[in-house]
Amino acid sequence: MRLVFHEMKKIWNPGAILVTALVCTLFYWLFMSYFIDFPQGHPRIEEVASSIELLERYGNTLEEHEYEAFVEETRQTLIAEMERHIDSLPVFADAGIFSYEDYERVRGKNVQTEAERAAVWTLLGSETGFVRFRMQALERIVNAHDGYLRYTLMHQLSQASRQRDIDRLNAVMETQEYRNIMDWNVYENTVDYTFCLAVMSVLAVLVLVSPLVVNDRIRNVHLLQYASKHGRNVLMTQLSAVLLSAFVLATVLLLVFGAIYGTNGTWVFRNSGLTSFLNMIVFYGDITYGQYILIYVAMIYVLCLGTAALAFVLARFSRNLIALILNLLPAFAALVALCLFVFMHPFSMTNVLYRATGIPGIEPAACVLLLVVGLTASFWLVRREKGIDMA
């Protein structure tokens, strides 16, 4: 174990840590920071707010009577608020608008006068607390609720070709699993962020752990090591150090970037089932947002360990550091493709891997397969090294 830590010290040298930190920081600013300031823009802000309001008032599911009461009450409140603004602000009178019905009529016109356009935008602006956008968010809930069984599920049923999928869609209908409150904006935002985090983890692992074996070989350190008591077992020690480093790095990345993501308030949906009338996608299992995050964390660990094992193999076959990069670049491209297949809408019927294979749980299985292939190749290399002629 002492030797493993010495090898880890070689991996975690200040230069490598600095470069890895810089790579991660730049990657975050380029691709991930956008998902933290969430939600952005209207009516997305109002849509997420109304979903959170539903969650706070009714818990994780929305029953029929709760839905009816919520819609009726909110609609009355919003109309009353809009009427108040229409009565108090002269911009509406200038456009000939004296009630909410007048406003909607003008809003629906194909050609509007300057005064009418100003009045329409007033209820969509900050002056009135974006009240018309709040109404739009309510309309979205109504449309999603009323159209889910009739259109969304029916469309998916008509598209489904596997009996397993048809059974699952029927089960969602019968058990009314779609009554979960899970906002589509939140789910999409999380999927995009987690995909980027997976790519960043792969990149960081490749950058950090790859040079260890090549650096030793360039300096012929391995010949010196092979003459020692520990002998050719040193490659196994290096493999252990590489895997342990990948594990530590994955932990650090998950803690740092998970904590950053935690600041945007999406965790309130942790107990909500992902199959929801507010989410367009149907999942092949009854899974909550919190469970999805936990499985994702486990998948990132497996992915990072698999990547580290792959990097170890590629490094062993690289004669110098430039050759190492030339080997790592296609590997990185392949791993990004794997992340795309695995982390875009995982556990749902729209996931590419699931659509291609029809096997539930194919996404974590793909990560495990990467790890198994990487470890098998690494152990084969370690074993081969013991009998190789060094002359």
Binding site: L26, N320, L321, I322, P330, A333
Partner: protein, 387 residues
């Protein structure tokens, strides 16, 4: 010259370089096969051999003859007739001033920057008027498939080619610059004044190999694409055809306007040429880094980090002060930004660009700056303590 050939031989002897090129080619083949196929575009290409590409009366007569001749899909010929019937010149009465005003308002720029933006579009108006005189928009290109095929060819495929070319060229340059360090021959080679002059053939060999690799990739990729697609006489069509357009969030949907009159062939050649110049810029920058950072792995990461920083800073820093805004517009001339905006080369650019011919100006400035910094780095290297 002998040294040059030896250096070139060293680079070409690397199996990893050939493996990487093979991987790039394989990837390009996948892109061409998966994304490049378009039945309708192929029909238009085939028809263009008989009809020509100028949308005049003669074109419609020949198109009718082709439709009655059979052999091609009747439905697609009907679609082509429908798309080309009664077309008008999109540049007649087209005003670029509104684009300038939208960009100025959206970017919130004032003073010199706003004037520069307006001047750019005043200059573009002259190009538009010239196009209107020549009836450039009344050419076929790929009719209804023009936008998709143009985007595939000059945005997706050319983008990947430049990326792959730049990567392989940069790595070849770093391999060349660090070759003596890797093989621990540096202390022998660089022990004398003459020995340190070896940098010149090293750079020449690396640049030759890098640019050569880019052209090999481009040639092989386009060969496969052209083998699978039908272009006919479309090569002679103008890229500013009425069927070609651009979309951006601020200016909306607008015609594809280039500063000069480009046919599809000349535009393609110009793109490949500008791509080669960009690959050269990246190579020169990498060579400078390779001379200072002797660890090739670290040098490549420094190269990546420097370019990523050049992308992040103009996006993340608020443009409150005029100096910051000036720095942002100047940053658009950096090679990494030119790479990001390759899809709009030879056009007016977008909201981030205030100068006409931004790609030409950017490439000239970048090449000059990279060459000058390379000379300084080489000069420094001549007297550098390598212990």
């Amino acid at each position: 010259m002998v040294l040059y050939w030896f250096e070139l031989k060293k680079l070409l002897a690397s199996a990893a370089v050939w493996g990487f090129l093979a991987a790039c080619l394989l990837f390009n083949m996948i892109v061409v096969i998966v994304q490049g196929h378009d039945d309708y575009a192929d029909v238009v290409g085939a028809v263009s051999k008989e009809t020509g590409v100028v949308l005049d009366d003669a074109f419609h007569e020949r198109l009718l003859r082709a439709a009655s001749g059979g052999g091609l899909s009747a439905h697609q010929l009907e679609r082509l007739q429908h798309e080309t019937r009664g077309v008008t010149d999109v540049f007649d009465g087209y005003e670029t001033r509104t684009i300038a005003e939208r960009y100025v308002a959206a970017a919130g720029i004032t003073g010199w920057f706003a004037e520069a933006m307006r001047d750019k579009y005043a200059a573009l108006q002259k190009a538009v008027d010239a196009k209107a005189k020549r009836d450039e928009s009344l050419t076929l290109y790929f009719a209804g498939s023009t936008h998709a095929r143009h985007q595939f060819l000059f945005d997706t495929l050319t983008g990947w080619l430049i990326t792959e070319g730049a990567l392989v060229a940069v790595l070849l340059v770093l391999l060349s610059a660090g070759y003596e360090t890797i093989h621990r021959t540096g202390h022998v080679v660089y022990a004398t004044k003459t020995g340190r002059e070896v940098l010149r053939p090293k750079l020449a060999a690396a640049l030759t190999a890098g640019i050569g690799a880019y052209f090999v990739l481009a040639f092989a990729t386009f060969l496969v694409h052209l083998g699978l697609s039908e272009y006919g006489s479309v090569w002679n069509s103008s890229v500013s055809s009425l069927f070609n357009y651009r979309i951006d969030f601020v200016a909306g949907l607008r015609p594809f306007v280039t500063w000069h009159s480009f046919s599809v062939l000349t535009y393609g050649l110009a793109m490949i040429g500008a791509g080669a110049a960009l690959v050269l810029c990246f190579s020169l920058i990498a060579f400078g880094i390779g001379l200072f950072v002797r660890n090739g792995y670290l040098a490549f990461l420094v190269f990546l980090i420097a370019n990523a920083t050049a992308v992040v800073l103009p996006i993340q820093i608020p443009h409150a002060a005029e100096a910051v805004l000036a720095a942002k517009y100047a940053a658009m001339l950096l090679p990494v930004w030119l790479w990001l905006k390759h899809g709009i080369w030879f056009t007016d650019g977008d909201i981030d660009i205030i100068w006409p011919h931004f790609e030409t100006v950017g490439l000239c400035v970048s090449l000059a700056a990279a060459a000058a910094s390379r000379l300084l780095a080489a000069r420094h290297f001549r007297k550098r303590n390598l212990s």
